[in-house]
Symmetry: C2
Subunit: 253 residues, 2 copies
């Protein structure tokens, strides 16, 4: 049944593409930030303008680091085909001029909440916990195998549904934000393209079951990074608290 | 008035050792975690055993990374005198055998709260936000100038007072913890020695006012790192929340 090198038996535990995809979807169902109470409040319209400002200002730090994250991944691949495909992400966020791109569009959203864009760009008021979580994303793509760095982007598998819902709900509950939704509009088609590329890459480059498990773990870790950013927001600006999925729970609480 | 190289005028804004020390104390007064509500609750006896477990388990992650942090600093100095002095810190935490050292003593404290030490060492239940804050400390000492890496340890200027108070209050409010306080006992003399060394180093190696300001900023950043760990605990296990000093505040809140 085909050629097989001595000492390299087939990994009979290898997941099929469909099985791997199912495992990744399961992670998203349990740990993606669409379940976070801060987002649930946003979508039911119970956040105040000040809380939306805190969200826009803190998440700007995340957005501003995305092209840095993608440039690190670019810098780690020796394959021009991969680099050409991945380069699109840097362009999506940085734009072709200073007047476009995802970062500029996020700033437009922050402005629509009533914040001075210079204050947002300055970043002095970002929660330390936001910075630490985002910086951990940079650590991940810098230090772990390229396969895992790519796999950590797979949260984009779940972002289209969240963005569609969010745009509807923001327009409904916060009509004064409607002029600032270009970022999400663009992500509606960018994210699924990116997710499909990363999913194929992960399947083709995880050659053993144990590598497939590192792909799944990288997605879990990225979900933690998104979740922790909302925890920090909720803690500082909403209240009260709860431990994230899988963390230590006090007995009887 | 002594020899002065052409083109190297005296930096007339340079702080004296006393002035620098006063600026550092001011940072500690405002931002050190002795002011954090989680610690205030601990000292007034209003934390539950479960909350103390959460604290011991999460802070174990911090303790376990301290000798790594100090080894990074060791690795960055080309001065044998400096390295010999700094090496003491690694020994203080790792011990001379697996039965002693600060990490082992912290584990004894965690055991005294009723936790299985293997569960604590495993680390699976540490809050992501704890890991991110601690990892940021490693980033700081790895990536920023050695002067700032050393200065970030200056929170030890303030730890003796906090530890003295804490030992009294833990014995008073949580007598079942009394057998687990060896860690603090050892730090009572270790921390002031370390702080004095780092303070002298910072003064002698900050040659301009602007370098002195980076020393002060490194201490602020370290205070943020300690504070964020307690925020994460409070958010997950106590409630309700507030923004840390200097962070974005919602207007009218």
């Amino acid at each position: 049944m085909g050629i097989r090198a001595v000492g390299a038996p087939a990994d009979t535990n290898l997941l099929s593409q469909g099985e791997l995809h199912a495992r990744l979807r399961e992670v998203g169902e349990q740990r993606y930030h669409h379940r976070h109470p801060f987002h649930l409040m946003m979508h039911e319209g119970s956040l105040t303008r000040g809380q939306l400002q805190a969200w826009a200002l803190n998440r700007y730090y995340y957005q501003s680091r995305i092209p840095i994250k993608d440039a690190i991944i670019l810098s780690r691949s020796e394959d021009p085909d991969f680099r050409r495909a991945w380069r699109k992400r840097v362009v999506d966020h940085d734009g072709d001029t200073s007047a476009d791109g995802g970062i500029r569009r996020w700033l437009k959203l922050a402005e629509a909440t009533g914040l001075d864009p210079e204050r947002v760009v300055g970043g002095d008021e970002v929660l330390p916990a936001t910075r630490y979580a985002v910086n951990e994303y940079l650590n991940l793509v810098r230090n772990r195998p390229l396969l895992e760095a790519v796999a950590s982007s797979l949260t984009e598998l779940f972002s289209r549904d969240l963005i569609s819902l969010r745009m509807d709900r923001l327009r409904e509950h916060y009509p004064w934000l409607s002029g600032g939704l270009d970022y999400f509009e663009a992500r509606l088609h960018q994210a699924p393209e990116d997710a499909q590329f990363a999913l194929n890459y992960a399947f083709e480059n995880a050659h053993t079951r144990s590598e497939q498990e590192t792909v799944i773990q990288a997605l879990r870790d990225k979900c933690d990074i998104l979740w922790a950013q909302l925890d920090a927001l909720y803690f500082a600006y909403v209240q009260p608290g709860w431990p994230p999925p899988g963390a230590f729970r006090i007995e009887g609480a």
